[in-house]
Structures are given as C-alpha cells and as structure tokens.
C-alpha cells in the first residue's frame, strides 16, 4: 500500500479544485447575467419593492462578500428557489435525478455487455471480416453526433418499423432506444480500447510461452490474456461512465426522458436560472465523484499508476 496516501491526496486535491472552479464559474456567470430581481417580481413592482428584494437576497452587498455567501450556500445545497416550480431548486433537481440514473446505468450496462465481447473477439480474430466490420462501426459510433443517432433510431425503429415507443418513461420498452443512443459513444470507445488492450497482452512474451507449452488457444485467451488485460479495460470502461452524464442532456431532450439533462434545457427556456445552476453544479459533482472513485479503484488495482 506504499504510495497510496499521496496518490489519494493528489486526486482529492484535484477533485476539490475542480469543484471550486465549477462553483466560481457558476457565480461569475450568474453575476454576468445581470440583476435577477426583475425576473422574480411582477413587471409593475414599485422601486421600493425591488430594493427590498435586492437587500433580502444580499445583492446590495460587495461582490467578495456575495461570493463567500454563495460558496457557503453551495456547500449547504442551497441554490435558491426555482422560479418555475416555486420550491427550492435543489429539491427540484433531486426529484429528476433517479430518471437520469436509470438511463445512465442502463446505457452503461448495455454498452459494456455489447462492447467487451466484441473487443475481445476483434483482437483474437485480428483483421478478420468480423474485426473489420465491428471496428468500422465503432469508428462511426465514436464520431457520429449523439442527437442524430437518436433521431435515426426514432425514425427507423419507432416510426418505420413500429417496434418501440418514441418518447416518455413508462416501461422497459421506453428505455431501449435512449439507452442505445446514450451508450453508442461509450460502446464504440469500449470496444476499440478493449481490442487494443487485448492485442497488447497477446503480444507479450508470456503468451508466447503459454502457446509454446502447447496450451489450447481457448485457454491462452481466457486464462492468460483476459486476466492481464482486465485492469486497463476496467479503467477505460469506468471512465466512460462519467462521460455518459454529458451525453444525457442531448439524449434526454431527444427522447423526452424526464431526467436532469432535459430539466436543464427546459429551465433555460423558462429562464429558471437557479435550477440551471443547480443542475450544472450537481452534474459536475457527480462526474467528479465518479471519476474520483474510478481513480481510487485503479490505484488499488495497479500500483504503477500511483507513482505517475
């Protein structure tokens, strides 16, 4: 376990800096947006009323004081009241979180289940037609825009073939297309990286030794190769989970999935800034926490990372 503590410390510091940075940007952007008070009051509110609300929100105090108060509020999960929902923004966002988790987790599991076997088979059967076709598809999956993959799936699978619903959140059938759309990029990346990780191990000397011993190819692949390729594959796969959060905004909008991504976009249209800020901040926290956990697992699995 030597070196684990400094490794932990540096990762924790990085996570903290990222969080502080996000909150500072949120604060600056909020101030750039101008005075939020007229949005909160009816258009014909008297000036005295505007001044009263401004003082109540602390907007008449110096900027540095406002900044410190803001950071304190963020730490307590206080992002102000939603203008549209008329309740605390934090509570609104928490209500939409389960749907995003459900979609993200399904997309992730789906992507891993499809991509891992494909990556292994492509590596073992290198340059075969299977390898060429799947890796070609993976390249397309990595560079195609998420929103257009969603539109194409709706057009072909829902509208032309009539197999699955186009939007909403009722039963498992509503989940299939959004999960495929959201998972497409992760699926492509995991398949490509699994392939290269397995290829790397297949070139190792101990694999040649295993083959020279006369072990069957099946045994060489399952016992000697996969075990050694597992560490990089686990990390890569884990990292993809974090990036899914960014894609959720687009996917949820395309499929009218009631998660925090769609909430963020709708709140922008409603000019409901407290909710927008809370969503951005909370997603950033989630992303940073997930990546931190993956870093930890990686550090535990592979001592070499700690030193780098």
């Amino acid at each position: 376990m030597r070196g684990l503590l400094p490794f932990l410390g540096s990762r924790l510091l990085r996570a903290a800096v990222a969080l502080w940075l996000v909150s500072t940007v949120v604060f600056v952007v909020m101030r750039l947006s101008g005075d939020p008070v007229p949005l909160l009051l009816p258009p014909d509110a008297p000036r005295s009323e505007i001044f009263r609300v401004r003082a109540e929100l602390g907007l008449d105090r110096p900027l540095p004081v406002q900044y410190v108060v803001f950071l304190g509020n963020v730490l307590r999960g206080d992002f102000g009241r939603s203008i549209h929902f008329r309740q605390p923004a934090f509570r609104v966002v928490l209500g939409y979180l389960p749907a995003t988790f459900e979609l993200g987790l399904t997309a992730f599991v789906l992507a891993s289940l499809v991509a891992l076997p494909i990556g292994v088979v492509s590596a073992v059967r290198r340059n075969s037609p299977v390898d060429q076709v799947t890796m070609g598809l993976a390249l397309v999956g990595q560079s195609a825009p998420t929103f257009f993959i969603g539109i194409l799936l709706i057009l072909v699978v829902s509208l032309k073939l009539g197999l699955l619903p186009t939007s909403g959140r009722e039963d498992w059938r509503n989940l299939v297309l959004p999960a495929l759309t959201l998972g497409a990029f992760a699926m492509a990346s995991i398949a490509r990286l699994t392939r290269s990780a397995v290829l790397e191990v297949l070139r190792a000397d101990y694999i040649r030794t295993a083959r020279a011993k006369g072990l069957s190819e099946a045994l060489v692949v399952t016992k000697h190769t996969l075990k050694n390729a597992a560490v990089p594959i686990v990390t890569i796969t884990g990292l993809q989970f974090g990036t899914l959060l960014g894609g959720a905004v687009v996917t949820e909008t395309v499929f009218a999935w009631p998660g925090i991504g769609r909430l963020a976009i709708q709140s922008i249209y409603n000019r409901d800034y407290p909710v927008v800020q809370c969503t951005v901040f909370l997603s950033a926290v989630l992303f940073i926490v997930i990546n931190f956990c993956i870093d930890l697992v990686y550090g535990l699995l592979d001592p070499r990372v700690r030193s780098s």
Partner: protein
C-alpha cells in the same frame, strides 16, 4: 481513404464558400404552398426541390448548403480561439514554471474533470446564444490539448544548451519560440487542430440542436435536424439530409485527423 477524405472536405469548403451561387433557392424564403414537399427531381420552373422542403416551405438542399457555412465558420473560428488560448497558456506554463505552471495545469486538469457541455449550456443560457459566444465557448472547450503539447515541448527545450546560448547572445524568448519551439510542434498542432475541428463542428451542431446555438432563421445543420424532429413521421428528409451530411463531415474530418497523426506524429497515438 485519405484522398477520398481530402476531396470530401474540399467539397464541403467549396460548397460553404460558394453557397449563394450554388444554392438553387433562397434558404430563408418561405412558401406556404410548398410546405413539406417530398424530394423530387421534377419542377414546373426547372428549379426542383431535390431534397424536398421543410415545414415553412423552405428548400432543404439550399438550407443545407448555407448551413455548411455556419458549421465551418464556427468550427474554424473555435479552433483558432482554442489554439491561441491553449498555445499562449502552454508557452506561459512552460517558460514561467513555478506557480504559473501549477495554476495553468491545475486549471487544465479541472476542466477535463467534468463534461464541458454542461458548463457551455450554463454560460450560453445566461449570456444568450450568439455567434461570438458560441465561438468563444466552443473554442475554450478545447484549449487543454494545445497547452499540454506546447508546454512539454518548452520543457524539453528550455534546459538545452543552445537555448542558453541564444539567451546569452541576446536573443529574445520570442526568437526561441518562433525558431525552435514552433517548428518542433507544428505537426502536432496540425493534428490536434484537425481533430478539434471535428469536435467543434459536432459541438456547434449539438448546441444548435438544443436551441442554444445558431438561432433561426439562419440555417445550421444541427438546427435543421431540430426543426425536422416534429415532422419525422411525415417529412423525414428535413432532419435526415442535414444529419447525414453532418455525420459524414464529422467522420471524415476525424479520420483525416487520425490519418495525419499516423503520418506526422506517431507519438500522439497513445492518447
């Protein structure tokens, strides 16, 4: 493959530049009588709607051709913004070292530590969508790679004796940058810029699709896919045509980047 990619990119560039000449119709002119017309090659006046019309009777092909301008303009401008910011910060971090270096690199790590699209959405939501905002936000989303490459090159060269010699002879830092650092990183910069271009084009289309990018009636590929969403069942061509062109452009540009990387700078391959 490389040749085909090059020809395709060139075709998109020429289309964008010559859009007003090539486009068969006015991209923003509406016609209630020609709403949602299917793609056809026949027309009474010889000016057919080859890719059909949209919900306002505008010609889809003409809008797509003009949309290429938006995609490339925002894409290239964002790459320039990201490149300048990234290169400046990278050089600064490398030459100054110490505190400056730590701060810039921590900033880079922090930015990579969470999905930028969320921040972009927050910023654009408040500042309002406009071309300059879009270019700056997309540009700033990609500065980190440039900064890292330039910084590491500076660190490699800074301690070399000939650099000390230049300083001793009265040569300026600018001279070291122009004569020794830039030539060394030029091929890496070209590769990064190409890959960044693909990313910027997709990000612009995504933001436009979400209603946060280029605003109607200006045609953009992402915006067109968004407009056609409501009519997927009855008029599939409105969304599909610009979407396919966008997808092809993204794939071809990023493949060209991969190809350039293998050709010019194999050391980047691991990233």
């Amino acid at each position: 493959m490389a040749l085909g990619g090059g020809v395709f990119v060139l075709l998109v560039v020429i289309t964008a530049m010559a859009a007003p000449v090539i486009a068969p119709h006015d991209p923003v002119r509406q016609s209630l009588r020609a709403r949602l017309a299917a793609p056809t090659l026949s027309a009474a006046d010889g000016k057919a709607h080859v890719l059909g019309t949209d919900h306002l009777g505008r010609d889809v092909l003409s809008r797509m051709i003009h949309g290429a301008r938006v995609s490339l303009l925002v894409g290239f401008a964002a790459v320039v913004v990201g490149g300048i910011v990234g290169a400046t910060l990278g050089l600064l971090a490398g030459f100054r070292g110490g505190w400056t270096d730590t701060m810039i690199m921590t900033l880079a790590d922090a930015q990579l530590a969470f999905p930028f699209i969320l921040l972009a959405i927050g910023i654009i939501a408040v500042l309002g969508p406009s071309f300059p905002t879009l270019i700056v936000v997309i540009g700033l989303s990609g500065w980190v790679t440039y900064a890292r490459v330039l910084r590491s090159q500076v660190l490699v060269l800074r301690s070399r004796e000939f650099v000390d010699a230049i300083h001793a002879l009265g040569g300026s830092v600018a001279r070291v940058i122009a004569r020794h650092i830039l030539p060394n990183v030029l091929s890496s910069l070209v590769v990064i810029a190409t890959l960044e271009l693909a990313r910027a084009i997709v990000l612009e289309a995504t933001l436009s699709f979400l209603g946060l990018g280029v605003q109607p009636p200006t045609p953009s590929w992402g915006g067109m896919v968004h407009e056609g969403r409501e009519y997927l069942d009855s008029a599939w061509w409105i969304s599909t045509a610009p979407g396919i062109v966008l997808m092809l452009t993204s794939i071809v540009v990023s493949r060209t980047g991969d190809w350039l990387r293998d050709l010019l700078d194999p050391t980047l391959r691991g990233e």
